[in-house]
Each structure stands twice: as structure tokens, then as C-alpha cells.
Symmetry: C2
Subunit: 238 residues, 2 copies
């Protein structure tokens, strides 16, 4: 069944402009057809089209179902966006598919990207939510200076993907050693030019614990996806 | 220092056409400059340019260093390539960055992609190997019918990312529950249209154990990357 996204579907009983167009113009659905509409807050509505209007398609709700997030504890990723937009976009898509609660684009001293339009990213999150059969849309913050984020970082476990080069390899700790499955967790991933020493110090002072994501040098977006995959893999230990 | 790839560098003492061009034309390096050359088999050579020729740049070897793979046990990913080439390409890039030994593109009954040119993929593997500071190039097979692969699958643990829909959720097993860190491991990831029932039966008969990669419906390329990330995360448990 085709799935659409409309945050206020339960009160408006109407799809927005783009979703209406997709539903009526592209998919050629018509009155009487049944569709699924998620509200991005965890509810999946089964709806019947009552008016197949290409700008504000109207529906009635046949059934509503709560789809809880299939993982425990919230996962927050705070990551400096890459210079190349494609790389942030796939990071956002992949993390949403695997499951994430909040993405905070960070502005760091060494960030090559100082401006980020979140509108396009938000569309990617919506598409990935629908594609992976979820009903909850991750929260996407605007570009946030790292100091501002550190001053109000979420509660729970806090990690920073960073290795002090002076630390002997055997003293480096991995997510699998430190992450307690099911707890709220936040991980910081730095820009292509890495965190500045002052940023690392500020993160440590804010209770962020350094972790290694393995022995390979990973690109920013690969590190982000690997960390989110690791949270899910470790949690599924059962 | 700039890093190049030349499989037979130790015997030829010369870079190939493309790498020579990049070295001499693009980077404008000249005789006397020092570069790094990996052979794709685990050795990193420090070299000095003796003749900065833009088609066959010649070098002398100053130092050779063995760079062992930083993970234990071999990781083989057998995956049906996606219709969209971009998606296979990033799968190959990300798996190489995180660390993988062999990628086998599978031809399945429901494959939307029946032909795969591996030349472009091989270039991506080379770039990702260099970028992530490795000296070992993953083996990339030609497109292989799944039956042929099953008949000579590698030894070690064998998994298939597949869930019998009839199996209750609590009986589904995850990689974290089944994978023994450091053993040789192979995982099969199906095409966008999933494995056929006959393919699943053949894989089970060949000793592949069904695993779930979590509760989310993942695209083919996301499942592949999540599985490889999971192997590394679980192994790094220490």
C-alpha cells in the first residue's frame, strides 16, 4: 500500500500539496482507494481517499495504529556536516533507515561547511522513514555551534569519536565496551579536519567519553553510520 | 604524504599510466620527491621519485612496511547489486573504509541488475583503500550466480540476512547473538525483491544461518553496510 506523510493528518484529514500531487497526479489514486499516512510521531493511519484533489487530497481515517520505535533508549547523533552534500544526505538516509531519534548538524572550528539548508535533508528523512516502514520522523536540528550543543547535551551516555594519538592502542575503548544497550546515548562526530583541541577539551569537560570506532581511518559520514549501526548491533545482543 | 597504488611496484619500480598522470601532471611531483605506494596486498612502500614521467613515473624504494589488516578473521560480503549503481558504489566504498576482505556481487532470481561492470567498482575500492590508509585491496569477484557461490562458499561462519515471516519475533537471532568475533565470516544479502524461497532453501542447505539485522526494513545496500559495521563493532568488544 502507498504510504504518505502528513504531521497533522488526524485533525486536517487532508494531505499537503506535495503528497497530494504524488498521490493523485503521479500514482493516479482516486476516491475510495486506501492509503497509509504516518504522522511522524509514531502513528500509522489507514485512510480512505474521499476527494482526490491534486493539491489537498482529502481522506477519512479507517484505522489508527501506534508503531513504537523498535529500539530502546534514544540515539542522538551530533555530526559536523561534510563539505560534499551527497555525503551528508546519505548519512541522514542511512541513519534514518537503521533508526535514529535526533540528528544535530554541528558547526565546528574546522568545519568546511559553515551553512546548511535543512529543508532538503528533512525531505530525505521523510523518504527514508516511509521507505523503512517507520512512523516516527527523527528530529533534525538546525546547524548548531558545538559550544551551544555541549552546553545543553542530552542526558544519558555521551561519547565523542576521538582518539588521543598519545594514548596506547590497548587503552583505547570501543563503543562495544562502553555502551550500555538501551540507554539514551549521544555521539559526537567531528568534521573532516577533526575537532580542535579546545573542542575536545570542552567535550570531555561536558562528560563526553572518547571512543574509537575501530582501527580504520573513517570519513566523517562513514564514522556516523558505523556508530549508529554499532548501537543497533550491540543492543540486539539480546 | 601522497599515496598511490601499484600492485607490482616492488618488481617494476614504476607507477601505471593513471597513477603516473595523477602524480606528475595533477600533483606536479618531481624527481626527488617522496611518495607512498601500496601494493594492495598489505605492504606500504615509501618511495623516492627517480623519473617524473607522466605515463610511467619511476621510483626507488626507500622503505617497506607490512600493514596487517587491523581486524581478525576474514569478512566476505555476498550481495545482490542494486539497480541503482550509486548505491552499490557507496556500499563498496563504505565497506572498504570500515574493512572487508571480499565482495561477491550475486546474481539472484529477483535481481533487477543482471549485468555488472566491475572496473568502476574496483577503482572505488582502490580509492577507499588509499583514503582509509589501508594497504590491502578487498577481493572483488565478478557477478556470480547465487547457486555457484553457495556451492563453494568460504569456510567459517555463514549467515543469510533473511527472516522467515512465520518465525515469532523472539525467535529471530541477531548477528550479535551468533557471530563469534574473529572467526572467518560470510554474509549473504539479497536483492531489492528479496531471495526466492528456493534460494533461501539452498542457502540453508549450504549451512547459512538466518539472522536479522534489526527491526527496520533496510535497503539492500544499507543492510550490507550495517552487517559489516556490526562485525567490526562486535569484534571490538575486546
Amino acid at each position: 500500500m502507498h504510504r504518505f506523510y502528513q504531521p497533522d493528518i488526524a485533525s486536517t484529514l487532508s494531505l499537503g500539496d506535495e503528497e497530494s500531487q504524488h498521490c493523485v497526479r503521479v500514482l493516479r489514486l482516486s476516491a475510495g482507494d486506501t492509503i497509509e499516512v504516518v504522522d511522524g510521531c509514531g502513528t500509522l493511519h489507514t485512510c480512505r481517499i474521499t476527494l482526490a484533489h491534486s493539491k489537498h487530497c482529502q481522506v477519512e481515517i479507517v484505522d489508527s495504529q501506534s508503531l513504537p520505535r523498535p529500539w530502546q533508549g534514544t540515539i542522538t547523533l551530533a555530526v559536523a556536516p561534510t563539505k560534499n552534500l551527497d555525503r551528508i544526505e546519505w548519512l541522514a538516509e542511512k541513519c534514518t533507515e537503521m533508526g535514529i531519534d535526533r540528528i544535530v548538524p554541528l558547526l565546528c572550528g574546522n568545519s568546511e561547511r559553515k551553512v546548511l539548508k535543512t529543508e532538503r535533508l528533512r525531505k530525505i528523512l521523510v523518504a527514508a522513514m516511509k521507505q523503512s516502514l517507520k512512523a516516527t520522523l527523527p528530529q533534525l536540528d538546525e546547524l548548531t555551534p558545538i559550544a551551544a550543543f555541549l552546553s545543553q547535551a542530552p542526558a544519558g551516555q555521551r561519547f565523542i569519536a576521538y582518539c588521543d594519538p598519545a594514548l596506547p592502542r590497548e587503552q583505547r575503548r570501543s563503543l562495544a565496551q562502553l555502551y550500555e544497550p538501551g540507554t539514551d546515548v549521544t555521539i559526537l562526530i567531528g568534521p573532516e579536519g577533526d575537532f580542535t583541541p579546545a573542542e575536545v577539551d570542552a567535550a570531555l569537560a561536558a562528560g563526553f567519553v572518547p571512543v574509537t570506532l575501530g582501527e580504520s581511518r573513517l570519513r566523517t559520514e562513514t564514522a556516523a553510520v558505523a556508530a549508529v549501526a554499532a548501537f543497533h548491533a550491540i543492543t540486539s545482543r539480546g
